[in-house]
Point group: C2
Amino acid sequence: MEPAALRSLVEAGPSDAGTVVARLFRALREAVRSGRLEPGVVLPSSRRAAAALGVSRNSVNAAYELLRAEGLVAVDGRRAPVVARVEHIDDPVGGAGEGPALSARGRTQCRDLRARLYAHPSGRFRPGAPDEPLFPRDVWARALRRAARTTLGPMRAYDDYSGAPVLRRALAQHLRRERGLLVAPDELVVVASAQAGLSLLATCLCDPGETVLVEEPGYLGARAAFENAGLRVAPLPVDDAGADIEAAQARTGARIAYVTPSNQYPLCTRMSPPRRAALIAWARSARATIVEDDYDGEFHWRGQEAGAMQPLAPDAVVYLGSAAKSLLPALRVGWMVAPRPLAGALAHAVRNAGCAANVHAQLALAELIESGAWKLHLRRVTRTYETRARVLTEAIRAAAGDRVEVALPPGGLQLAVRMGSLADEAAAVAGLGAAGWAVARLSGFCTGEEPVAGLLVSFAEADGPRARAFAAALGRALGIRGETG
Amino acid sequence: MEPAALRSLVEAGPSDAGTVVARLFRALREAVRSGRLEPGVVLPSSRRAAAALGVSRNSVNAAYELLRAEGLVAVDGRRAPVVARVEHIDDPVGGAGEGPALSARGRTQCRDLRARLYAHPSGRFRPGAPDEPLFPRDVWARALRRAARTTLGPMRAYDDYSGAPVLRRALAQHLRRERGLLVAPDELVVVASAQAGLSLLATCLCDPGETVLVEEPGYLGARAAFENAGLRVAPLPVDDAGADIEAAQARTGARIAYVTPSNQYPLCTRMSPPRRAALIAWARSARATIVEDDYDGEFHWRGQEAGAMQPLAPDAVVYLGSAAKSLLPALRVGWMVAPRPLAGALAHAVRNAGCAANVHAQLALAELIESGAWKLHLRRVTRTYETRARVLTEAIRAAAGDRVEVALPPGGLQLAVRMGSLADEAAAVAGLGAAGWAVARLSGFCTGEEPVAGLLVSFAEADGPRARAFAAALGRALGIRGETG
């Protein structure tokens, strides 16, 4: 084979194949595989090939060695390589093959739990995310800029996986003052998200096959974290007084009870003091852990007296929070509050799992807390969201009050619209989905045979016109005639 | 009991106990537990208590209900609560108890793997972290500021867990051009760290009990990720030509081979083309996955022709990279390159595990790549690190050349100093540790019976004076007399 022919071969090959070595190797491999280069053809010497291709001899030799190691060419001493006789080459490089397959466990890890919740997942009013225009972008931009110019020292690398000390100090003080927590900075572990915290608690507190109780209906992310850790998830029934440990059939032997006591997800109710006390008494006697997910604890507007559960039993509760609802999920800053020995151990787990939070976001949040800007921001968004919740609640009552039950939630970003039947739920989800609204079906949060029917609706973006448009669409979806029929 | 006495009790209780409900509950609980409040004592009515304490009746009632649910007071209709007769209350709230215990699995998840590597882990020259003064802080600060002011839309929340589209586009182009990868934006998944990527691959590609091959000696973080996923880690022997799949006794049935072909960690050698081809041939026939950790691929200064392994077999390789070495570990931005179907599945796993990367860091990195600032930065740090590597290599040779073997690495941030015996290694680690140098022992990266002896030394901060100070300390630790003895 002449060097010029080799050059044509490479030039005709895929131009995206990266380095010279990879391009040459892939062009020749494909030529042998397709029969274009027949057994016995002598390739140019590396010196001549290098000259023709305008590359180094090292590169040509590397490509030839790759071909030789795959048995596609034979090399005899210092002579030029000869194309070998090969039965067949199974697979074109990067060809039809699908690539690595998921394991059985992998199919669980990679499932999309939320698919069953939505008819139109990317529509308006999707539960979970705050209203972007409320994000204090200028304050955050300035804080980030200062953070980036800070000398990080040990924080730049791998020394302390509990989180930036300045954030843990600021956050501990904030949580003590605003949520009543009993927490010192070394009882806080900062992570990339509350979801990462749930994943760590699932693997660190439980062995495979053990049971955890999750509110029913309940947050799918928690269920995913526990199931992905190989745990058995059993229902912790919820009514209007919150999770009821006495009604949980699997409570004996359960290692964790996962609850959202301040604003039950998705029913938007608050756990009563006796239910809290009963849950704590159970956890103490069962030596189980209460995982308190206070996902939107920073902006509640009523029923605040009770505060979080953690100060009632700091020995039995691990508390989770994050900046996802108060600022933005995409910041990926969450935190866990745990008794000191556990917090210290969890920091190592954060390192081993690789789920620490970005340092500049940590420093920026610390600055916002310390300057008081976060508190001002929280007050502002709480007022806004309370107004929107009222507006949406009233619009829904006006449009469909006889077919649904809707109560003003204690806070947060979403409200539950209860319905009398799954048929109504299905009609509402389909009709609203077709009209571009991303409501979630309440039954999707249930695992049992008697699911709650209704919708989880975000009011994060529900100003007056949008609230009325939504309510009108809900009425139409339920077949209710408007007043001006 | 008079309301005033109740007030004294609360005021004498812990002042840090958060909300009124928590303080009242904890003060009364402690008083009953210690016997200070005897059975039969009648507490003030909620109205009188609220007036005395200056709080709402709701708060007092909540605290009384918590006490009642724990059986500490009896309530008869609307009368004031009476302290009950209780045998004993096990545990003071937040008292001596250690809190939740780790499970058996949890003890593995939370172990500190690296403890055995160092005599002085927080000393100078610790391997792994780049030199902070080289971080382009002003460029990064400006990019972050612009990122924070960008309207995020769907990126703000939970819609796409593959990573910011703009970063995936920029990164795919960069990896194609600079590392020769075959990658489209939708074959990239951005994660909080390469370590998070390893954890996900361990759980998504393997079932518990399956075998993975890890280079021996090899990166402890990879071993941790695989062991934490319940996998059996078997050695993939490494020599100066890199990992040798033919020498891996457990290769039959192994699901993953983890390699660092471009700069073996910790030996700082480069895998030869025939070894690469043999590994690929094995992976294809075994239907196994090669996990290529290209942890410092952005700044190599020699032997670049071969590029990454991924373009030789994009169907069998999952490629990992991160900004940890080129920018800072604390940014928590890493990436995986995987065939399209796997990449799509892994994005769901990122969501379920909660290990996505901060959005502003993603946007800032995208901007740096697109503006060319990253390439300039990489060129600058590569030159600097090459100089430092040469200076340190020569200083070590001058100080201890007859007792150690040290070669200029192909790139990166650290070099291996081989020694003739574990006794020399121990003397060097102890002596250097006592003098404040955080070298890692090479034997600590081994699991077998014939560990490699020597040191892994970072040259990230090794300017001339520091390099000579280190070399002199190494000479002293090994008992070598200086020239001016």
